[in-house]
Amino acid sequence: MPGIDECLLEAMRLPGARGAALVDWTSGLALGVVGESPGGDQEASAAEAAELARLAAEHRAFASDAEEGEEADDPPLEDLIVSNRDSYHVLRFVRTSFDSSVFLHLWLARAEGNLALARIRLGEMAGRLVLG
């Protein structure tokens, strides 16, 4: 059972990982940061990623169909993937039993990174982070 830092260091062991952060998407606060940040400013990139995550999480267009009477997932998304010419950003929402609003943000170099692997591993890490 890892803490926040162990979880981020584990994410950094993925091939092509340039930076990882745990960010609160309500306030835009980075609770933990490891490695580089896009643009070199950890706080600014956390706030921008949080804004994107909040928009995606709050718009119903991206939510899965909830069955009748079924409790809707909070947040309704699993992850968010942004790609550009040289890198990927994977934002993985962390689901907790207590009130929180955080996601793991992994910045991946496109040449060395494996998006499918990173997505699966990040999901496992998000689960282990809040286990027990």
């Binding site: 059972m1 890892p2 803490g3 926040i4 979880c7 609160d24 309500t26 306030s27 835009g28 606060l29 609770l31 706080e43 706030a47 709050e58 119903r60 809707a72 909070d74 962390v94 907790t96 039993s97 207590f98 009130d99 929180s100 609003s101 955080v102 282990r128 982070l129 809040v130 286990l131 027990g132």
Partner: protein
């Protein structure tokens, strides 16, 4: 005299960039100069302010408490992360050498990741209220440690910066702080805009009496995100702060005729109903 020579290839002047070092300095003095000084001297103890307290260990903030924000115990037990009896057992077994959070971790009742997340959430949440502008000076008692123990200490500068950022974020959503502490009433717009599931839960508990921090406590949620939800609901026209009640004791009317005075008082009493 200087002459300015420009050629077509001269790049445009650089856009002004905010000096980050200066911004940090401003933030340091802006919230609580006393806290800044305590951080610099790596103090341990508790800073009591008007709206709550901050616990410091070696100049870092390890815990924050405010009547406006739900505590770690409530956040952990409200949605079944931890049973209330388990928390109580750990709190009762707490002594000088065994902090409550340490006992929970050692007992395998909660994982370090979940505890760090929940504790940081509670800390920043309560600190937002503790560091609110106050009319009375803060007091610091040296050497006091909190029975909950230290989970993930936060540097004072980071906490102050975040508090200022949160203040600004609220202001950007709806620039009226009255919604933060006043009883809330529902409004009925003709075409209500869509709201999120979180906001719907808050809206369902608006009853003309409860304030935003009370709704947060009721839902087992952090108070600051609830303030944000309420300001978004206000800006959407779905909720408004209840206007303050007229003063109970009205100033005596400026008339001498006893009948008119009586009638005026009767009218005022009826209006106040």
């Amino acid at each position: 005299m200087t002459t300015l020579r420009t050629t077509p290839t001269t790049p445009p002047p650089r856009l002004p960039v905010r000096d980050k070092a200066a911004a940090v300095d401003r933030a340091w003095g802006g919230v609580s100069p006393m806290l800044t000084r305590l951080a610099a001297e790596k103090a341990t103890g508790v800073l009591v302010r008007e709206r709550g307290s901050l616990h410091l260990a070696a100049g870092h903030v390890v815990h924050a408490e405010s009547p406006s924000a739900p505590g770690l115990d409530l956040l952990l037990t409200a949605h079944g992360t931890l049973r209330a009896e388990a928390w109580e057992a750990a709190a009762n077994a707490t002594d000088d050498r065994h902090a409550t959070t340490r006992l929970l971790l050692d007992g395998g009742l909660i994982g370090p990741g979940a505890l760090e997340l929940c504790q940081l959430g509670a800390l920043y949440d309560a600190a937002y209220f503790v560091l609110a502008p106050s009319s009375t000076p803060g007091r610091f008692r040296y050497g006091v440690t909190h029975p909950l123990g230290s989970v993930r200490p936060v540097p004072v500068a980071a906490l102050e910066r975040e508090t200022l950022r949160r203040r600004e974020l609220l202001h950007r959503v709806w620039p009226d702080a009255a919604t933060d502490g006043a009883p809330l009433v529902r409004a009925d717009p003709l075409a209500p805009p869509p709201i999120t599931a979180r906001q719907a839960a808050v809206l369902a508990r608006v009853d003309g009496v409860r304030t935003a921090p009370e709704i947060a406590r009721l839902l087992g949620r952090r108070a600051y995100p609830t303030l944000l939800d309420v300001r978004r609901l206000v800006s959407a026209g779905l909720v408004s702060p209840r206007p303050p009640a007229p003063p109970a004791v009205l100033p005596p009317p400026d008339v001498t005729d006893p009948d008119i005075t009586l009638l005026k008082r009767l009218r005022d009493a009826l209006e106040a109903l």
